[in-house]
Amino acid sequence: MERRIDLPIDEAQARELRVGDILFLTGQIFTARDEAHLTMLHAREAGEDLPFDPGAMALFHCGPVVRKAGDGWDVIAAGPTTSVRMEIFEDRFLEAFAPRIVIGKGGMGDRTQAGLEKVGSVYAHYTGGAGALAAKRIERVEDVHWLDELGMPEAAWIFAVKDFGPLLVTMDSAGGNLYKDLEPKIAENMKAIAARIEG
């Protein structure tokens, strides 16, 4: 079902979301790719406070193109990056910070699935490459962290968004997983493909 969501949401609300739901988010989201994940996890392990509250925002796997505009920033293009690169630490990240919605492309693996189930969060797929569409739904850049250390694509950008989507829930907290659901159908199709090649 289609859901308009005002962030932040709590664990109970996140646990109601299901594979197949289409989400449009309004509120704050933060970007984090490989380097920002590591920086935030290291900060947590060192007992340091973060400069923002990731649990109150959606996490967006994204390395945007932004341009300085006066004292602020304009977002030029901001589509999702390939999420599975973050598979090696996303479960730890979920446990540490509990973002209730993880946005990316291409899906993630078993460790993240287990993390989503344990913490009570969902993974939502955003159309890969749709960087101009995403930028249109970002109202403003509210802040940026670790820009000097990590550079433009890897920094943590805080965006205020309105009706950010369509996001398709493909992994949920109840074990639902669109990619796994597709596997038997694709395996069946591969048999037909092999038969045609051999035929």
């Binding site: 293009a77 589509g79 749709a130 960087g131 101009a132 995403a134 930028a135 493909t170 159908k185």
Partner: protein, 288 residues
Amino acid sequence: MSGEGVKQTVAEALRIASTVLPADVVDALKAARARETSDLGSAQLDAILENVDIAREGSIPMCQDTGLQTFFVEAGATSPFLAEIRDWIEAAVVDATAAIPLRPNTVDPFTGANPGNNTGRFMPYINWEIVAGDEVTITVLPKGGGSENMSTVKMLPPGVGLKGIKKAVVEHIVSCQGKPCPPVVVGVGIGGGADISLKLGKKAILRKIGSAHPNPDVAAYERELLELVNMSGVGPMGVGGETTCLAVHVEYANRHPASLPLGILVQCWADRRAQVVVKADGTAEVIS
């Protein structure tokens, strides 16, 4: 015109490539939308087509991964500008990075340093081919990282033959699932050596969608590969659907008797490209 003019024209080609999806690709995406039967797959194609419109109308990059700026240059042997073309292309990349803007995407693998202007050691990369005549044709291919990560080379035992190549291509593209941002364009390079097969595959994706290989047997093989990949059901963005692949383009070279190199080049739906011709009088124009 010369130096400054050629640089500006190449920079303009980079802007067009980054912001305006070629008409053949848009048509292929619209045709895919028209025959899509999956609601989830249709929603992905709708978002892609809306995104393409927003990028074109606003002259902004269609994807935040504006790619590695990769060039293919057909250099006329009697062009007076052969010594300068590299510098002009590099200057155009620097200017276009600031003006469009493009994401700075050239990272030093040893230090992690990013010069911030899409240049660096061997970057922008230029593939040179010397041809007869006095004109230089420059094709730019801004290639995204997500799809390039799915490209691969396989050194097959020659005994598997053309059937074995079909099987390897389909299995590889299906194993990529949603990661290269399907529906993809696949360049298949066969023969030569490991490096040559990959280069042939990359050259093959420069072809327009809907074009057929001049050898009718190879053209038929391309159509067959496309049908086979699309039987998989992986669909747009890997969420399931009819169209996993918009086109398969094959290029080949003769091979060593002991080797059957297969280069598989994967290009995302944002199959961005543009072309500039530099005439012997120093004028330059964007031709596609």
